[in-house]
């Protein structure tokens, strides 16, 4: 097992870092080019620039138009996908290990020699308009997007990665080319490879295809701040009269990935709401009360403090009750901490589950990208289990007190106001949103 996760590193002469894991299970290779700047560097009022830039990379290079590129890649059975994210932008190319040379060359061509064709940009914009319009039909998407915008109040994490419908026309091709020229630089990029290929061969191929790339720059400074202002705690309601269930989000500001309490907080959150049927929230809201099919709490671990969010849904008539019960569970954990048995079980879950999380190239590359993005160190996977095991009950208790803030929760309900507004008002003042049509999206 330790062998499977042996992480190796090389630096090319232009400063581009290469992280690799040799993977013997199936003849597969997953390659990823990661630029360590993402949607948080979208220009203000132009949400989506990083993600659209990534997508446009796949729509043609200086050598090949979109169709030819797709035909050549798919003739290998491979798949190309690119996307923006928080703190980083990714180009993924996955295929059979026997094609490593071609795949490496193709990834370099896509990431380093884009054509940014104007006609393809126009098509991309229309596809995004359609996608963002369609997202309004999915209550979960509506809740996630609305919460993000509401909570962050215009801070760099305060928009949807894929863009905002009302701002589609504000984004021009020149925004994408400028963003690419600024952010894609070797010193702030990482190439990750997980596959059935010896590492020295990867280094050699990477050097040939990526080693002389100069890139643009200077890249935007990495954003690490907490936002200057956030939404005021309280209950916010977006009326969707046609829904039978309310989508509910409750959140407050979380912590950056670099925070020293990372491991205690992860264990704490497993017990609170990430551990499925082992979690307090699932136990109370689903198993005991039958109010929902699912509930989960998440700390979004980013370079700057990301949100801590509890997400659930419940038949509209239960909305106020579900919120009160969730608040109570958070309060209890914040005040009283967790039990020794809960902590022991959370620790043994992460320790026992470790090999399952390294089973597939996809799972592995996710871990390695995270290591590269947050500079977690080459020994991160090797030391992971001992770090989990070292967390004490007292550390978790302190983490609960310091990092859970039931009084600061910003609560969003997307549901039928006619049914939910009055019961919600009994919990506290309710701020009603403009409707979806009024351009909030």
């Amino acid at each position: 097992m330790a062998a499977l996760a042996a992480l190796q590193q090389a630096t090319l002469k232009n400063g581009l870092s290469l992280l690799g894991v040799e993977y013997p299970r199936v003849p597969w290779i997953s390659l990823a080019f990661m630029c360590k700047r993402g949607s948080e560097t979208d220009p203000p009022d132009k949400p989506g620039v990083a993600d659209w830039t990534a997508e446009l990379l796949t729509q043609g290079t200086r050598r090949r138009r979109q169709l030819e590129l797709a035909q050549d890649i798919e003739a290998l059975g491979a798949a190309l996908a690119a996307r923006g994210g928080w703190d980083a932008t990714y180009v993924h190319l996955d295929g059979l290990a026997e094609d490593m040379e071609t795949l490496m060359a193709t990834l370099a061509e896509v990431a380093l020699t884009p054509a940014f064709p104007a006609d393809d940009f126009a098509l991309l914009k229309e596809r995004r308009r359609a996608e963002l319009t369609q997202a309004m039909d999915d209550p979960r998407e509506v809740a996630n997007r609305t919460f993000t915008r509401l909570f962050f109040q215009g801070a760099p994490y305060g928009h949807a990665v894929r863009g905002e419908l009302a701002r589609v026309d504000a984004v021009g091709l020149e925004d994408l080319t400028a963003w690419y020229a600024r952010e894609f630089v070797p010193e702030e990029s990482v190439l990750v490879c997980v596959g059935m290929v010896p590492f020295p061969r990867l280094v050699e191929a990477a050097a040939r295809h990526f080693g002389s790339w100069g890139g643009g720059g200077p890249a935007s400074p990495a954003w690490r701040e907490a936002p200057a202002r956030l939404a005021a705690p309280g209950i916010y309601l977006l009326d969707r009269p046609e829904l039978t269930q309310s989508e509910i989000r409750l959140g407050h500001l979380g912590l950056p990935r670099s925070h020293p309490d990372y491991f205690p907080v992860r264990l704490l959150n497993y017990i609170l709401g990430e551990g499925g049927f082992s979690s307090r929230l699932m136990g109370r809201i689903r198993s005991e009360l039958g109010l929902t099919y699912g509930i989960r709490s998440t700390f979004a671990w980013r370079r700057a403090p990301g949100p801590f969010v509890i997400s659930t849904f419940t038949p509209a008539g239960n909305t106020a009750l579900a919120i009160k019960e969730i608040q109570r569970v958070v309060q209890e954990v914040q005040e009283a901490g967790v039990t020794a048995q809960e902590l022991a079980e959370a620790q043994s879950y992460y320790i026992g589950h470790f090999p399952l999380g390294l089973e597939t190239p996809r799972a592995l590359i996710r871990q390695v990208l995270n290591i590269g993005l947050h500079d977690l160190g080459l020994d991160y996977l090797a030391r992971y289990r001992e770090r989990v095991a070292a967390v004490t009950l007292e550390e978790v208790r302190r983490a609960a007190q310091a990092h859970l803030h039931p009084q600061r929760l910003v609560t969003l309900v997307v549901g039928p106001a006619a049914q939910v507004k009055e019961p919600l008002a009994e919990i506290g003042p309710v701020t009603e949103f403009p409707t979806a049509e009024s351009g909030f999206f």
Partner: protein, 441 residues
């Protein structure tokens, strides 16, 4: 670090080792020994799904799946999941049209614990009115999430309800809302006694486990169950004799259509050319639908899909085309051009490069799937349950490879006929109009 030979794609053997046993009481066992990783996937499959239900109690298979987690004489509610999760396990279950499946993916050393707990809940399941009622509410919330409030859930339900007139595939796995409200605990207990017995069971263990040891453990924990047999249920849907159409009105930003064509079940060899056909139409970005409809912004989505082996239904399943018109694109025009695109394929056949691409992508997808112990187990189990032969899992790569252009043309002509087609269109209405049409459930 893996030895050099382990990193040679040419030396890779895709064969899944299969060792079958049968207990005297009729319970079948499949062991897939694989020493690669110190993990096992323990799977308990019952050959009962929504097809074994009758009108009035639709959804009972799935509701019962939930009840299996509600505890026994010695295990509290959800303690089954908690105990195995505390060992690092991934614990869950799913219900399909043909079977109900429970699984635990966990460190190999906990194989016996997983088997003993599966036996415990089968032999000593404790159900009472209170936990039955709680779980009914959970499932009603799940139905609202997946079907009622989701963008296309009810449209898809109407497609199956219209395409099938006789076969039980016409009702949804989760069941109709009114049936879920009407079901009683007594119905569930009768269902349990009838179907949860050795004749309908397959226990599969994949991963780091010795076949003889698995046999001994299953014998120890399940050998004392009274013998049972499997009811083989044969239902034939009469051939469709003419196109059927239906309209569903709901609040939506998008116009859409779902079309279904009756095809074949998992055991039929035509499933492979049908998969290749679906791939040529809509997999990747060189495919026909992407190039003609999605890329130019006429369709927000246009997908051709048949449940891939081993997920294909046991009896003839639907080949589904799902088209979401982009804003500004009239659905009737999109539909006409969609049928014209199919007619062109049925007239001219497919090209050699597109056939080669589709086959390579399906091969790559299969290879990638083989990285996961859980999935290897499912392949063998589902082929065994639905096609009566687990070794078909080992013939998947060859079956895709053998598909010819003539096969694809033949299945396109044979199945994608207007007379064999059911089309459901989603017509958007305002929230007010929606309310006038009556409640959704």
């Amino acid at each position: 670090m893996p030895p050099e030979a382990a990193l040679d794609p040419r030396a890779w053997n895709p064969e899944i080792a299969l060792v079958p046993f049968t207990l005297e009481n009729g319970l079948q066992i499949l062991v897939l020994p694989d020493p690669t990783l110190p993990v096992v996937s323990v799977q308990v499959h019952y050959a009962v799904g929504s097809r074994h239900e009758v009108p009035g109690i639709t959804g009972i298979s799935h509701l019962f799946e939930h009840l299996m987690f509600r505890g026994t004489a010695t295990l509290g509610p959800e303690e089954f999941s908690r105990r195995l999760q505390a060992k690092g396990g991934e614990v869950n279950a799913f219900t399909t049209r043909d079977h109900t499946s429970y699984f635990e993916n966990l460190p190999a050393e906990h194989l016996e614990l997983a088997l003993s707990l599966e036996a415990e809940r089968l032999k000593h399941l404790k159900l009472d009115e209170e936990n039955f009622e709680t779980e009914r509410q959970v499932v009603l919330s799940e139905r609202k999430l997946r079907c009622v409030d989701s963008p296309f859930g009810l449209v898809e339900e109407l497609l199956f309800a219209t395409a099938y007139t006789t076969h039980p595939y016409r009702w949804p796995i989760i069941g109709w809302d009114q049936d879920l409200r009407r079901l009683t605990l007594e119905d569930c207990l009768a269902f349990f006694r009838r179907h949860y017995q050795p004749g309908e069971m397959l226990i599969l263990v994949a991963g780091e486990a010795e076949p003889e040891q698995v046999y001994q453990l299953v014998q120890r924990y399940f050998g004392d169950l009274p013998p049972g047999s499997r009811e083989v249920q044969r239902v034939v849907e009469p051939p469709q004799r003419g196109e059927r159409r239906a309209v569903f009105k709901k609040v939506s930003q998008m116009e859409a259509l779902f079309a279904g064509f009756h095809t074949v079940g998992l055991g039929h060899p035509d499933i492979y050319p049908l998969m290749v056909l679906a791939s040529i139409l809509s997999q990747g970005r060189a495919c026909r639908f992407y190039q003609e409809f999605v890329r130019p912004g006429r369709a927000a989505e246009l997908e051709a899909e048949v449940y891939p082996p081993p997920w294909t239904a046991a009896d003839p399943d639907l080949f589904i085309i799902r088209a979401v018109a982009a804003p500004g694109e009239p659905l009737p025009r999109l539909e006409a051009d969609l049928w014209a695109a199919l007619a062109r394929l049925q007239e001219e056949g497919v090209t050699d490069p597109e056939l080669a691409r589709a086959k390579k992508m399906l091969r790559a997808q299969t290879v990638q799937g083989l990285a996961k112990t859980f999935y290897r187990g499912l392949m063998a189990a589902l082929f065994h349950l639905k096609a009566g032969d687990a070794t078909l899992a080992n013939r998947l790569l060859a079956a895709y490879d053998a598909v010819s252009a003539a096969d694809v043309l033949r299945v396109a002509r044979q199945y994608l006929r207007e007379d064999n087609r059911t089309v459901v269109t989603l017509k958007p209405v305002s929230p007010e109009e929606s309310q006038e049409l009556g409640p959704l459930f």
